[in-house]
Amino acid sequence: MNEDLVNLAGTASEYGEIAVRPDHPFLLHGPELLFGSRGLLLAFFLAGGRIRSGPDSLLARLALARLALPSHTLCVAVFGSRVGNLAPELRAENNFHILLDLSSGAEAQRVLSKPEPNARAQEIPPRVRHQQRSRAAYLLRIADEVALTQSGRDRGKSVSSQRTRIGGGSWTGRHRRDPGLPRDSDRPCWVVGSSSDDVRTPSSLRRAVESLTLRSYVLDNGVPHPTSSGGSVIASLGPIRSSQDPTKPRRAAAFAGACLVERVDEESLIDVERHLGLSGGTQ
């Protein structure tokens, strides 16, 4: 674990409850540290240039975390010390409520005891939050129904060996080892895994979820504004195992705006298209 995160967590634990790398039921990759005390909730993101995931990934995580966490949560960009300087692409002074420079003495204690959010990062309009929640709940229900239907029948014809269309876009599962965008589609489908025997963990969804988030939201002064209201599809060629929380892959994908279909076959694609009202059909 990052040494700065360990130190920050140690300091925060003296002030209230903490969760290091919190396991939030709606987030595959949330903030690095969540702190709660007497109604105050802080979400810390390591935001320095030496963090491997890069600015786009961090902005996608920020957007989803802001939607998943209570509206009064203050999001803190952590930089300095070993974490490195803030990447300019983050526009951190606009998108985060607080900037925490770890190289500056007792700054962490001040943020934990008396945080002073900047005026730029705004609250998410209640309408946006409610619409996003409603869509997530609807997509999760569809994903559950598709999974239930799948479990009641034999596995159908594999889609990994032929071109498949979803909602007007096309992708070829066989050639796509990593999630990526299909061609010519407003309703993108991400493919996870390389074969139907490829058992994955929920973290394999992260790139797909982050790509989807960057495509589905524009982050403006910390507020993720949706660019579309429809649902997308994440198709996993194999199963995704989540031992402690069996529903988490479907739940987290739905929260990001996608219906996750595991062990995808032609019938399940047709099923999910029907539920989502997509017109593409399979070829």
Partner: protein, 150 residues
Amino acid sequence: MRNRIATIRTLLAGSLVGQLAAPEYTDVLGELNEVLRVGGVKEAKRRRLLEVFHLSRSVDTSLRAFLDAHGWPVALLHGIGDYLLELQRQAHHHPGIGRLPAPSRQRYQQSIADVRNRYLHTANSYPPADIHSQTLVAEIQACIAEVVSL
């Protein structure tokens, strides 16, 4: 499990429930601690049932404390089904609290209330495998996380 419990504890501490520090808040923290303690029970079916038992009590009390803290008259509400329905309907305006989407309410009613009632009210009924208790535990955590962020 430890990190999931820590996440729920932190979310509650950062909510109005944690701010008011009502007795129910302390009770919920106690139940969440019990969930971790029973993780050491060797007999699997007892462990699963105890996890379900303590988390069930924590979600009931968390929702009640949340409603109470935000000004709902809770005296006539009698369990998770009532609490979820109130959060969906919101017959009276509660500033700053969004409605619980109908599919979420239906989901938690079926995946938490209906399932746990079977285990807690029927003799010799236990979650038959870890995946059953884990699914119920995950739904309870999702419910608490969704409600405190409405």
